[in-house]
């Protein structure tokens, strides 16, 4: 008995030595060496709400979580392609139905606890748990069946899908790996949803990201500090990150954000309006650097209510749907809109007019075959005339039945740009005798109209894709998508082209051949540009700024725009 115990103790010692000595399988990047030290202050307009990646829904929470957690495979925000992260490699087999993920060895969570396949298994068990309702869960249902995981050894996990998964390993970006040793207890007690709220202490948290949770001062700030166990190194084999702390200060609104940045209290600014960006640029000096990263993945658009309203008792709106369903009408409206002026006046020239939903910011998927819409009052008028519309003595457009054509555009009040766009559209359509009324509604009231009561005629809204891959648009374009806003009733628009989109979107998700997927997605873009279920307007640029001393600062068009390479940022000496 005694001998055996000794033996195992010796084995244990050996194991500890081995892991602490060399077996840390760190990722060595090609990054030129930077300089350690310093804090980074980020002024945010709203607070992060929860630090629990399983239930976080708001974007700021996810941004902060992104700093503290890591995923198996990561999408490089600059190249928009995947790169290895916690997984050193992924082997894809069985025609894209099976992923063998090889984990890095000897990595540690920010509290020093080792990381292995059990953490991966636990994390995905949590994400898949039906009782937790993680918002990410739906992404793991592929071909109608949940992904299944098997542990092959301590550092190898196999993922099996019911059908080939088109986007491939991009799936893993967005599934941060959870520390099993900390969360298994709350999970078993059914309290995982309530773990990692902002009332937690630093000791309750551990992650694999470059930073770890330090403190939260309610209503004021959230501080994260350098994770000493982080698994990336620069080319000089210095362990990243360089910065000591990141401080998220909560300042309430965009103007306060700008003021804080201007006064030098905040080091970075992002998601600012073009107007503020211009003002800051005008006052630019050597201390601050402002960067226009080009068109984002956000597309703003006008859309009409194409829902089936037969059981909603909204006769007023229903009577106008005849116009809305008329492609000539939609094309005429699209042609009447002065996108150049929107770009110039609303976005100070820092936006790109678009004619489909895939913006120029999407380097990998934007189709070159979609032609831009050119504004033409004459073409619009002839289109309308050929569709049976005419003009009365007062110059107002009337339809075949002699009713004057007019509608209201709803938009949300929190967003100044959308309101401005609606106002400009109002004037643009006026020129063809269409009377437009702009109604601004507070965001939830607007959503209620769009998604529950269908009590609206037209709406200006914007959507931002989470990723460049068409997989991220699956909730928008197929007719049964939950964000298929213009026709959530799924029955109003049983047209051929919509069926074709449904088919194309479903097929590209099953295909692992990138060229084929591209071909299919190009066709989707053409169909949308040609049939205008939405009338695309512009895509605003990603605008950001930082102190000039901050090196490696490189805003990207993918979320999170500026903090995606946080581990690489450092303060230069001057």
């Amino acid at each position: 008995m005694q001998i055996r115990r000794k033996c195992s103790a010796a084995q244990l010692l050996l194991l500890v030595c081995a892991s602490s000595l060399s077996a840390e399988d760190l990722l060595v990047t090609s990054l030129p060496p930077g300089r350690y030290g310093g804090d980074l202050v980020v002024a945010e307009r709203s607070e992060p709400k929860v630090l629990n990646p399983v239930i976080a829904v708001d974007s700021l929470s996810r941004e902060v979580i992104g700093l503290m957690m890591a995923d198996l495979v990561h999408i490089n925000r600059e190249s928009q392609r995947t790169e290895p992260a916690l997984a050193r490699s992924v082997d894809i087999s069985e025609g894209g139905r099976r992923f063998i993920v090889h984990l890095r060895r000897g990595l540690r969570f920010s509290d020093g606890h080792p990381f292995d396949a059990d953490d991966v298994l636990f994390s995905f068990q949590v994400y898949l748990d039906e009782n937790i309702h993680s918002p990410q869960r739906d992404l793991l249902i592929i071909g109608g069946k949940p992904v299944s995981l098997t542990k092959q050894d301590q550092y190898t996990v196999a993922f099996a899908f019911a059908q080939p998964y088109g986007p491939g390993e991009r799936l893993f970006d967005g599934f941060p790996i959870l520390p099993r040793h900390l969360l298994i207890g709350p999970y078993k007690e059914g309290k995982l949803n309530k773990s990692w709220g902002l009332n937690m202490t630093a000791g309750e948290f551990a992650g694999l990201g470059p930073f770890r949770y330090k403190e939260y001062v309610p209503g004021q700030r959230l501080v994260v500090e350098r994770n000493p166990y982080y698994w990336k190194q620069d080319s000089a084999r210095q362990r990243l990150p360089y910065l000591n702390r990141i401080i998220f200060e909560y300042v309430g609104n965009e103007d306060a954000q700008v003021l804080r940045f201007q006064s030098g209290d905040a080091d970075i600014i992002s998601r600012i309006s073009a107007a503020n960006f211009e003002t800051l640029s005008k006052q630019a000096n050597g201390v601050r650097r402002l960067i226009d990263a080009g068109p984002s993945l956000e597309y703003t658009f006008l859309f009409f209510n194409l829902n089936d309203l037969s059981n909603k008792s909204l006769p007023q709106i229903e009577s106008k749907q005849g116009w809305f369903r008329d492609l000539s009408f939609r094309r005429a409206v699209s042609m009447l809109i002065d996108r150049q002026s929107i770009d110039r006046l609303v976005y100070a020239g820092r936006a790109a007019p678009i004619s489909t939903h895939v913006t120029p910011g999407n380097k990998l998927w934007a189709s070159s075959r979609v032609t831009p819409v050119s504004r033409s009052l004459e073409t619009a008028r002839s289109l309308l005339a050929s569709a049976g519309f005419s003009w009365n003595a007062g110059g107002k457009l009337i339809d075949g039945a002699g009713r004057p054509v007019g509608f209201s555009i709803v938009t949300n009040t929190g967003n100044n740009e959308r309101l401005q766009m609606a106002t400009m559209i109002q004037q643009d359509l006026e020129q063809a005798g269409i009377t437009v009324r702009v109604v601004s509604l507070e965001f939830r009231s607007l959503l209620d109209r769009l998604m529950t009561t269908f009590n609206y005629e037209a709406c200006v809204l914007g959507l931002a894709s989470g990723d460049v891959d068409p997989g991220s648009e699956m909730s928008v374009w197929p007719s049964d998508g939950s964000t298929h806003l213009w026709d959530l009733s799924k029955s109003g628009l049983k047209s051929g082209w919509q069926m074709e989109i449904d088919h194309l979107m479903a097929s590209q998700m099953r295909s692992t051949d990138r060229a084929e997927r591209k071909r299919m997605y190009d066709r989707v873009q053409e169909l949308i540009a040609g049939n205008l279920p939405i009338i695309p307007l512009v895509s605003p640029d990603v605008l950001a700024g930082a102190k000039a001393k901050l090196k490696n600062f490189s805003p990207a068009v993918l979320l999170p725009y500026v903090l995606w390479n946080i581990e690489e940022l450092y303060w230069s000496e001057q």
Binding site: S273, T279, T413, S440
Partner: protein, 330 residues
Amino acid sequence: MLKAALACGVLASIHVTALLADFASPVPFATQQREYAFAPPTHIRWFDREGGFQLRPFVYARVDATNVKRYPVQFFVHGSSYQLGPVTLDRHLFGVAAPARLFLLGTDGFGRDQFSRLLAGGRISLTAGWLATILSLSIGTGLGALAGFYGGWLDHSIMRIGEASLTLPWLYLLLAGRAFLPLGVPAASAYLILIAVVGVLGWARPARVVRGLTLALRERGYVVAARGFGATSGYILRRHILPDALPVLVTQAAILVPQYILAELTLSFLGLGIDEPVPSWGNMLAAVQHYNILVSYWWMLVPALAPAAVSLCCFAIGDALLRRRRAVPL
């Protein structure tokens, strides 16, 4: 007294100008001249480039790449047509011939003439201010007088409800109100409905004042005597209490009117303001709450002068009335 008369005059002329906004403004308030976004106020000149004096004020305008021409300011010019009551007119007080533009107060981000918007905005703002003030004062007076006059449980419950209503988060009631208004309601009416709700909700403060006054007055000999003659409560309120409350109410109104005019700005901050393209003073100032506009375009602040003038006048009138009161000190 002179000052009050002057204030009345200014106030009246502001109202008249707002009423005749269509005539006094050179272009319709909603017209976007997009190539002139954020244009500063046009320089009106008496002296030309050569230093020669012109009898008629004029503006310069570029006619092509190289040439700049003089355009005199004209009065009673033909322009876009508008309705003034039952008649359709197309005369405007002043203007310049195209391609020159005359922006007295510059333009906003869409290139809309600020001067025209200021005049048109007065209509909405003044209506809103008066409407809300009248509503809150009349409801406040009614309930306050009731509470003070009858006392007892009625007084108690009115005052408790008043206290509660001062603390209630009316904001989401307003949000709901805005959300439930049909889409077809024109922007101005939608806003007036909302400000009416705000006015109705503002009853508690005037009610308090009137209640205090009523409490003091109802013990006065002449009120007791009137009751002795068999006067009804309504009579006493009408003949004895309200006349005494009137100066107080006017003072209150002098404060409330400007406040309600500016309430629009706060409402639009909360997403409940007036919808584009209809202007109002608060709505025009709301643009300035964006930091970049505040620092870049000073003329966007000019609309603040209108409510300031109104409130100065209101104050002067209120003060004069208060001095005239000289009634029984309370």
